[in-house]
């Protein structure tokens, strides 16, 4: 059976490089890849466990305020945490909810694209744009691999 892939970008495009996740998803939507669903929102939230449970593989795409350039790509496992506000949940928490509520184990990755500016600007910084290009090329090939072998 074909590997169902969800690419989920999150962040606020009105806050400069915080919009890297949705920007990548928007670019990916233009590719119309069979078997690949996309979604984006300001933050990850508990209800995203529903969409994740309907996939075999999910790739969370987020902006990173620090860390390696131009991006990092790593597997993420279910986890639980205590948060101070209702404002967001982590990819690990979404996966844990998916496991606990829907008994669905999903292979998941986080693509963290390095950003630099976080002002009230609806445009990526040039460096973040460059990182986005590289992340997109990487993800495009990675998706092909995932579709073929599901690994």
């Amino acid at each position: 059976m074909r590997n169902r892939i969800l690419v989920y970008g999150y962040g606020n495009p009105g806050r400069q490089d915080d919009g890297l996740g949705p920007a990548l998803v928007e670019r990916l939507e233009g590719e119309h890849i069979p078997g690949v669903a996309t979604d984006s929102n300001y933050q990850l939230q508990v209800e995203d466990a529903v969409a994740v449970s309907q996939s075999d593989t999910v790739i969370f795409v987020d902006a990173a305020a620090s860390g390696d350039e131009p991006f990092t790509f790593s597997e993420v496992k279910p986890s639980s945490e205590t948060t101070f506000t209702t404002h967001s949940v982590s990819p690990g928490s979404v996966l844990a909810l998916c496991n606990d509520l829907y008994q669905k184990k999903v292979r998941a990755y986080v693509l963290a694209i390095r950003g630099y500016g976080w002002e009230f600007v609806e445009e990526l910084t040039p460096l973040a744009e460059k990182n986005l290009n590289e992340a997109f090329l990487f993800l495009r090939h990675r998706i092909d691999d995932l579709i073929i072998d599901g690994s």
Binding site: E47, A65, T83, F84, S93, D100, L101
Partner: protein, 483 residues
């Protein structure tokens, strides 16, 4: 040795809050403060932009309650384009906006209860943080967690159908709305496959109220005594005194229920409300001018709204409102954790309102816009999930915004949150030489009742842990706890 305890909660690209608790030489709390690091960059940013962009621009403030900002800005620009203040819109426009707003209230209140409150109630404030979270709820109370997830999803779908999309929705525009609700969309909400239909949502919202009441009956001491202090309360109410979260007149009551702001039109809110700056916080402290800076502070949000309104105009929520009011013999409720009870009653009301609106054929109307004589100033108010939200704009002859003033719910609740922290600090920190997880969480529980939205009240970067540090009289750190 005098000590200072510092708590620093921060999330993603959001604001930065810090609690400091000063202990005297006998380890009694001498002073406590909630500091908010605020950067009002947005109000400067919006200057020079065309006014009609405001309803979309303001969603950049944050991703927490973009719908509330979207609608408050739209209401302000309604005034500018001469469409009036609330009643001037076409029935289709006004009801579509209300549907969007009640969808936002529903998903936000649901999230607050299931994500933040239920773990504390189900596992206790002192429970291991490893289980005292929404994942813990999912593992031990699966049905409750599924309800929370699906209610959130339903509310988000309402927003998507009315605002057009999840990020930077464009549904509300100056003078109206840019789409109606199709019959197909309507029927998906009315008759959707179980559980995603409005009747199920109403029954689950009722169950959540019942859950809280049951818990309250077994834990009255904790719920009734945790952070109780007299406060004024402010909100919009409908002109007949009904709870109305989208539009109305401004009303405030004092701790005894006496009206101290008597149903005034909000276009001239600045005649009644001032904003004080204090040296130790970047976030302003709003107050009622008639009472002055010292005594004029007030609470906004669910607790305040049920203290100011006379009734709730939907049957199930009204029934719960009557029980809720009877508990305090009709007097204003000043118990911080009753905020959760009030929030769940509002959530039930929101679900009932969504059904009422879905059954209204005006939502399929085609008259979407109203225009009148343009003016150079407009104020938009609504009751956001966390409380009263003010948007005020002035424009020049070139239609550019030359002044913007936003008072967000969290800013309105600045002093009450400080009061709540002080109350809890005195209760749990006095006489203690060490900070425990339970003590830390008690302070958090007090603040969490207000669910402060730091990202629109503030702007700071980075991700930092929650931290408590102890300082001696000289400011040196003698103990630090993080999580």
């Amino acid at each position: 040795m005098a000590r200072k305890i510092t708590i620093e909660p921060v999330t993603r690209v959001e604001g930065h809050g810090k609690v400091t608790i000063h202990l005297d030489d006998n380890n009694n709390v001498s002073q406590s403060r909630l500091h908010i690091v605020e950067f009002r960059g947005f109000e400067r940013f919006v200057q020079g932009r065309p006014y009609w962009e405001a309803p979309v621009l303001v969603q950049r403030l944050c991703g927490i309650c973009p719908v509330s900002h979207h609608l408050a800005a739209a209401k302000a620009t309604d005034v500018i384009v001469g469409a009036g203040t609330g009643e001037g819109l076409t029935p289709t426009a006004e009801k579509m906006r209300r549907l969007m707003h009640y969808g936002q209230i529903f998903q936000s209140h649901t999230l607050h209860f299931f994500h933040l409150v239920s773990p504390d109630l189900l596992f206790g404030v002192d429970a291991d943080p490893a289980i005292r979270n929404v994942i813990g709820v999912a593992m031990k109370h699966k049905d409750l967690a599924v309800q929370g997830v699906m209610m959130r999803k339903f509310g988000q779908e309402i927003i998507r159908a009315t605002a057009g999309k999840k990020i930077h929705g464009t549904g509300a525009i100056p003078g109206g709305i840019n789409k109606n609700l199709s019959l197909k969309e309507r029927d998906e909400f009315l008759k959707g496959a179980d559980p995603l239909n409005i009747d199920k949502m109403i029954s689950w919202a009722q169950a959540a109220v019942d859950f809280f009441k049951d818990y309250h009956s077994k834990h009255k001491d904790m719920i009734d005594r945790f952070s109780v202090f007299p406060s004024n309360h402010l909100s919009l109410v409908r002109k007949d005194g009904a709870l109305d979260l989208y539009h109305g007149v401004l009303r405030a009551v004092d701790p005894n229920g006496t009206k101290i702001l008597n149903d005034v039109e909000y276009q001239e809110y600045y005649k009644y409300i001032g904003e004080e700056v204090r040296s130790w916080s970047y976030m302003k402290f709003p107050y009622l001018k008639s009472l002055g800076k010292k005594d004029g502070w007030y609470t906004v949000g669910p607790l305040a709204r049920l203290n100011t309104c006379d009734f709730i105009p939907t049957p199930l929520a009204q029934k719960e409102f009557e029980r809720y009011k009877a508990y305090t013999k009709g007097k204003p409720n000043n118990m911080s954790l009753h905020m959760h009870w009030a929030r769940l009653i509002e959530n039930l009301h929101a679900a009932e309102m969504i059904k009422k609106l879905l059954l209204d054929r005006d939502l399929q109307g085609t008259k979407l816009l109203t225009r009148g004589k343009k003016v150079h100033e407009g104020v938009g108010l609504l009751e956001a999930p966390r409380g009263t939200l003010f948007h005020h704009y002035k424009i020049n002859d070139q239609d550019q915004i030359i002044m913007a003033n936003l008072i967000v719910s969290t800013t309105n609740n600045n002093e009450p949150m400080n009061q709540a922290v002080s109350y809890v600090a005195r209760s749990v920190f006095s006489g203690k030489a060490e900070i425990t997880e339970g003590m830390m969480n008690s302070v958090e529980v007090a603040i969490r009742a207000y669910d402060p939205c730091l990202s629109c009240a503030t702007h700071a970067l980075g991700k930092m842990p929650l931290e408590i540090s102890l300082h001696d009289a000289h400011g040196d750190i003698i103990d630090v706890r993080q999580k």
